[in-house]
Subunit: 155 residues, 2 copies
């Protein structure tokens, strides 16, 4: 069992030169409903299955479970995903005590870049660096599950 507290920001400035790590990510959705999201992800050469429950703990928090699965299974599940598959590079960038995940999207979501920061509690201080723009925490248009069905190029 895990809890997730995240804030999300659009990205306006240069960030790639600050990145200390990057991954290629492809992900699709086995289920998207009010109750939960079931996601399959290939991150570089590893497969993952993730369940995000719609059951909300508080404003920024929901239940989440993630399991590593064989890459061949994840690849096959991606091929069976009925909806669009998200393709992106994730850059990890330090910002003070925090690590930001900056996602640059490809394909039908090309042109979209946003950053997420995971906090350990809801009232934790976080000062956005200058290259972050508008906060979009909680805006469903920036959920990957939404983007897989309503890609950025069609907004």
């Amino acid at each position: 069992m895990g809890y997730e507290i995240e804030r999300k920001f659009l990205v306006n400035g240069e960030y790639k030169s600050f990145a200390f790590k990057q991954y290629r990510i492809q992900q699709g959705y086995l289920s998207v409903s009010k109750e939960n999201v079931v996601r399959v992800r290939v991150r570089d050469d590893k497969g993952f299955l993730t369940i995000k429950s719609g059951a909300v703990k508080d404003r920024f928090t929901r239940y989440e479970w993630e399991y590593e699965i064989p890459l061949a299974d994840a690849d096959e599940m991606l091929r069976l995903c009925a909806q669009g598959v998200i393709d992106k590079t994730r850059y990890l960038v330090k910002a003070g005590a925090h690590t930001l995940e900056v996602d640059e999207f490809y394909g039908d979501n090309e042109g979209l870049v946003f950053a997420e920061v995971e906090l350990t509690h809801e009232n934790e201080a976080f000062t956005p660096p200058s290259w972050l723009g508008k906060e979009v925490t909680g805006d469903i248009r920036y959920y990957n599950a939404y983007l897989s069905q309503h890609p950025y190029k069609k907004w």
Copy 2:
């Protein structure tokens, strides 16, 4: 990746005295759609997450993946399942070269007992023992996912 070829039969006679093993099973559904079923199961003291794809390989076969997960995770997912949770005992019974799984249901599905046999290929011979009744392979009313929403006592 795995494939599953199953035939299912109602149970008319005595089978418990033939059982060589039994499990208590509770299971719920994170997703039920045309595309796939995502199931969480607690079998005795183990947790499992299973994905059954709706993508059909041939008449008796569909894709299926199963992963063991921590019991505490599975218990928590069961509590978050919006639909009814299936509660049953599974008895394993030998029938010639095959092993039958006989499910006796409790709660809202009390009174229902059916047996499944897994075959290695579609044309494999299987002679049902005398305590098996009508074949119900492919009848969606006997799918556990259906029973969780439409329990047997309300048929």
